[in-house]
């Protein structure tokens, strides 16, 4: 059994991080006994904690280290992910925006082409070109077919 002085030396050595595993087990055993002086009660609690495998610290380290690492990677990953997403969105959306702008421009142009067109159905007149455009285009297609037939007749008649 070691004396208090020897234990005090071992404690110093432990706190300096120079103790061997067997010395540490010795300290845990000594401080685990009931003969620990009251003034060393803090040390008793400390070694009990070390002996138990530093549960809280271990937990917190287990939790913190990976978390901090994870959060670091998450941060890097998030930034990279966001950058990639933004790049992807720009790549995917810009052509769509262009298409949309082109389509809108084209639609506007088409509306201008058909300006003055209207439909009267059941006594209700509609000249909203965005609404009747499809009908107007179908009508013009039918008219084109009839015009073709008319051209054939004119050709037969040699006119």
């Amino acid at each position: 059994m070691k004396s208090r002085e020897q234990i005090a030396e071992l404690v110093e050595k432990f706190l300096d991080g120079r103790t061997t595993n067997s010395e540490e087990r010795e300290l845990y055993a000594w401080f685990g006994s009931a003969e620990v002086p009251e003034e060393w009660s803090d040390l008793k609690a400390m070694f009990a904690w070390y002996e138990a495998g530093m549960p809280e610290q271990k937990l917190s380290r287990q939790a913190e280290t990976p978390r901090s690492r994870r959060s670091m990677w998450l941060t890097i990953g998030s930034v990279a992910g966001i950058a990639a997403s933004v790049a992807l969105i720009i790549t995917l959306i810009l052509p769509d925006v262009d298409d949309y702008v082109d389509a809108t421009h084209l639609k506007h142009q088409q509306s201008d082409i058909y300006k003055g067109s209207y439909i009267v159905e059941h006594g209700v007149r509609s000249d909203d070109l965005s609404y009747i455009e499809g009908d107007i285009e179908e009508l013009l297609e039918r008219a084109d077919n009839l015009e073709q037939r008319a051209d054939e007749l004119l050709a037969w008649a040699d006119i």
């Binding site: 142009q109 082409i113 059941h122 107007i136 009508l139 039918r142 008219a143 037939r149 008649a157 006119i159």
Partner: protein, 133 residues
């Protein structure tokens, strides 16, 4: 069996008048399809313009009348009266359907009618300028 009546009319000078399609136009210009007309009617007017100048290239009117035998008869009569004034025309009786197409020039006007029972479809167009393909 389809009965086909093809009439090609070549008319001499002086036939191209504004009143050349007067009987048909008179019917088309009536307030057909009004709220109190008592029959279904759809009138579509398509104006096609030059995208650059905005000038009208073609004007099309299509009138679809449902369930009005009286008006169907009047349209057939009007076409029969106006066809001789056209540059060229074609009349066909396809079973129960009467179809006629007539063309006037300067400006080029194409009138087409299709009547089946009480259903009338009249399509008339005025081509002010030939489009470039």
């Amino acid at each position: 069996m389809k009965r086909l009546l093809l009439v090609m009319a070549l008319l001499v000078a002086g036939v191209v008048e504004s009143s050349a399609q007067k009987h048909i136009d008179a019917l088309l210009n009536r307030d057909i399809g009004g709220v109190q007309s008592g029959y279904q009617c759809t009138k579509r007017i398509a104006v096609k313009r030059d995208p650059v100048s905005g000038e009208v290239v073609k004007r099309v009117m299509e009138v679809v009348i449902n369930d009005n035998k009286g008006l169907a008869k009047q349209f057939i009569e009007a076409f029969k009266l106006d066809l001789p004034t056209s540059e060229v025309c074609e009349e066909q009786q396809r079973g129960k359907t009467y179809v006629a197409t007539a063309v006037w020039l300067n400006p080029k006007r194409v009138y087409n009618i299709s009547v089946t029972g009480a259903v009338v479809v009249v399509n008339m167009q005025t081509i002010y300028r030939e489009e470039e393909n």
